[in-house]
């Protein structure tokens, strides 16, 4: 038995020929994303009036604050070479748990930690399953997705409105940034405040924390190492088990937080919220230049990815005649473009 294992151990090494990307290659992907985002914004401002007005750009953030948080969690998982298909469902579970507990009269400061605990706990269990039973991340998170979605439907089969004062105030809160004068079609000028929402600040805070953790801590470096190769990480004496379980816990935690932000945004708990959000989160991470094979990428890129998706949805909002199908086709084309780009970069490196 032991000899058999010893003979088989070196097997993955020959397939594992990847060398780290050079700085230029890493930045060229992010650069492509930035260029694309700018082009899309310019095209939008040519086609539709007010497309790049201050408020419209800030709305890109506030309408997608939960997607930013989901994409951050997904970045951790994808950097280790895994994938998490459960985030959309866990987010929905978060909104439902929050709405149900608030309806029962629980205070908001208790509900929010409970929701985070549910998300993180589910992620922790998934991580245990993936690490200890060697179940593929794909299947384990798929099961978690069914579980979370099913639990949502067990709790409630319809949307629950939230009338808690704290959640309501978060829904309505505007943080004014600066004043602006706009001129409408009839030539009237109007002074209005450019504002953002607390959810955006929370999402950006999470982004900063994730950035620091990934780039300036031992844990962050282990995450990158794990994406480079599990066997070599182990040989370096880094804790594979702890890191692997931790990234899924982080992803679950982020999904729970996204659930809270989503219930701020909609002031309700919806069991069918976020269907397909796992795809959007993955797409955002890919567009943001993270290698799906793991080991290379930036969490700031994922923010750019979310904004790119946001611009595509903004096209649809500004143009009422546009078929919803085209937004999906565009996202698909973008994902294709970036994975082919990744492929070319990897080819050239060999």
């Amino acid at each position: 038995m032991t000899t058999a294992v010893a003979q088989d151990k070196p097997a993955p090494t020959p397939t594992n020929k990847r060398r780290p990307l050079t700085r230029f290659q890493q930045y060229s992907q992010i650069g492509a994303t930035v260029v694309l985002l700018v082009i899309m914004l310019v095209v939008g401002s040519v086609l539709y009036p007010n497309f790049t007005s201050g408020q419209a750009v800030l709305d890109l953030f506030s309408k997608n604050s939960f997607l930013i948080v989901l994409a951050i969690g997904m970045t951790f998982v994808i950097l280790t070479g895994g994938i998490d298909l459960s985030v959309g469902a866990v987010m929905a579970l978060g909104t439902v748990v929050a709405a149900t507990l608030l309806r029962e009269g629980w205070p908001a400061p208790v509900v929010i930690p409970v929701v985070l605990l549910v998300g993180g706990g589910l992620g922790f269990l998934v991580g245990l399953m993936i690490h200890h039973f060697k179940i593929q991340p794909f299947i384990a998170t798929l099961a978690a997705m069914f579980l979370a979605r099913g639990l949502c439907l067990v709790i409630t089969d319809r949307s629950i409105a939230i009338d808690n004062s704290f959640f309501q105030s978060m829904n309505l809160a505007h943080i004014d940034l600066w004043e602006t004068t706009t001129t409408n079609a009839r030539g009237r000028t109007r002074v209005s405040e450019i504002y953002t929402t607390p959810a955006v600040l929370i999402a950006l805070a999470v982004l900063v924390i994730a950035f620091v953790v990934l780039h300036y801590t031992r844990f962050g470096r282990t995450v990158y190492a794990l994406g480079g190769g599990e066997a070599s990480t182990n040989l370096m004496g880094l804790s594979v088990a702890r890191t692997k379980i931790a990234v899924y816990t982080i992803s679950g935690l982020c999904a729970g937080l996204a659930g809270i932000l989503f219930s701020f945004y909609t002031a309700s708990g919806d069991p069918v919220a976020g269907i397909g959000y796992e795809l959007n989160a993955i797409a955002a991470v890919v567009i943001g230049g993270t290698l799906l094979a793991g080991g290379s990428g930036y969490v700031l890129g994922s923010l750019l990815g979310v904004l790119t998706l946001g611009v595509i949805y903004a096209y649809k909002e500004f143009d009422g005649d546009l078929n919803t199908g085209w937004t999906r086709v565009m996202i698909g084309v973008l994902v294709l473009f970036f994975i082919v780009l990744q492929r070319i970069l990897i080819r050239r490196r060999r």
Partner: protein, 381 residues
């Protein structure tokens, strides 16, 4: 007994039997099949008919997974073909015409074939990871279906020929299950009675080595994705025909997940290199029995939780780690020494351990570990 416990089909088959028994306990008339207007009716027939699309999709998925790939786009392909056929039949003005329906089916299947070929191109020629390559069509495909129908829900009703595909009867048996059965039999013959199955498995074990051995691994990969696309397209036709409605947002939604679960439950390793069509069939029936499992669940809403639990249990039971732990548990419980050849079955291990058993055990371990190391290899490469 040993042969029985080591067979990979035993656990899924037991789960299926347990599900059916639970159904019968909750509803004694479960197995009753009656004949109405010369056609068969009853819960088992219902399960058979509804399982047909999942069987088809899972069949294609089995071969794709055997090459160490995965196809996430099957639901979207089903949506494209289903919407296009419905659109064509409604626009033709003559819904009853068999020729119109045949054209619609033909063109829809051609689209599915093109979709499969596209996936195959990305995977085999460009060398993109399958999960990523098929993700593109998964997101874009449903969008295309929406564009085809103009964001409307179509109702291709009043077309007997189209209705036959998914909801009709032929020789008093549901037509969809006949199609699925024929395709299943054809695939089983092609893969198990010719070298094709072995070639697919060898590509799954190591594409590069297979290529060096003279196997055209590129064409094989291409073929399995095209086959998966065709199966998905046909499943889309069945789904829209059965419900006489085509909503691009919901045709075959999550069918890729159901199909992958069916394959995994059936004992086909996601690491590729080995597949079991019979296992997939059992897996598909398990999924469909669970979906129609209103009787035992408190309400139909709990189906997803139940499904998740079954998936987790089956996956853990099939993982080599869990098997090792279970057999270790048996060893400790017996109070015996740490015999390396001890099996999960205390009956055989208790006697004088016969030499073939000890020889067979490391062989089984060798068989189990490569899948393990390989699975980590695929993720990182």
């Amino acid at each position: 007994m040993k042969a029985l416990t080591s067979n990979r089909l035993v656990w899924p088959a037991l789960v299926l039997v347990a599900l059916l028994v639970a159904n019968v306990v909750a509803n004694p008339t479960f197995f009753q099949v009656s004949i109405l207007d010369g056609n068969l009716f009853g819960a088992p027939i219902d399960i058979l008919r509804r399982a047909a699309p999942i069987i088809l999709v899972a069949l294609g998925m089995t071969l794709v997974i055997a090459t160490r790939g995965i196809d996430l786009s099957v639901g979207a392909v089903a949506a494209i073909s289903g919407s296009w056929a419905s659109m064509y039949i409604i626009d033709s003005g003559d819904r009853g015409s068999v020729r119109v329906v045949l054209t619609a089916v033909g063109v829809a299947l051609l689209m599915a074939l093109v979709a499969g070929a596209w996936n195959g191109f990305l995977v085999s020629v460009l060398g993109i990871q399958p999960i990523v390559a098929t993700l593109v069509l998964m997101t874009a495909g449903r969008g295309l279906a929406q564009v085809i129908t103009g964001e409307k829900i179509l109702y291709p009703d009043n077309s007997p020929a189209y209705k036959l595909i998914g909801g009709g009867y032929w020789l008093s048996v549901p037509f969809s299950i006949i199609i699925a059965g024929l395709i299943f039999a054809g695939t089983a013959l092609l893969t198990r009675r010719t070298a094709l199955g072995t070639l697919i498995e060898s590509v799954g074990v190591n594409p590069e080595a297979s290529r060096l051995a003279g196997i055209r691994s590129r064409s094989i990969i291409w073929i399995v994705y095209i086959f998966a696309g065709l199966c998905a397209g046909l499943a889309g036709l069945m789904l829209t025909s059965n419900s006489t409605s085509a909503d691009p947002n919901s045709i075959g939604l999550f069918i890729e997940l159901d199909a992958i679960l069916a394959v995994v439950i059936g004992g086909t390793s996601l690491a590729g290199g080995r597949f079991s069509l019979a296992g997939t069939l059992i897996g598909a029936f398990i999924i469909e029995t669970m979906d129609n499992f209103i009787v035992i669940a408190v309400s139909p809403r709990t189906t997803d939780v139940f499904k998740a639990c079954v998936v987790i249990v089956v996956c853990i039971l099939q993982s080599p780690q869990a098997r090792e732990k279970i057999s270790a548990l048996f060893r400790r419980g017996k109070g015996g020494g740490p015999t390396p050849g001890a099996t999960a079955d205390p009956g055989t291990a208790a006697g004088t351990t016969p030499p073939p058993a000890t020889a067979g055990q490391p062989a089984a371990a060798v068989g189990a570990t490569p899948t393990l190391t390989r699975s980590t290899g695929t993720r990182t490469s």
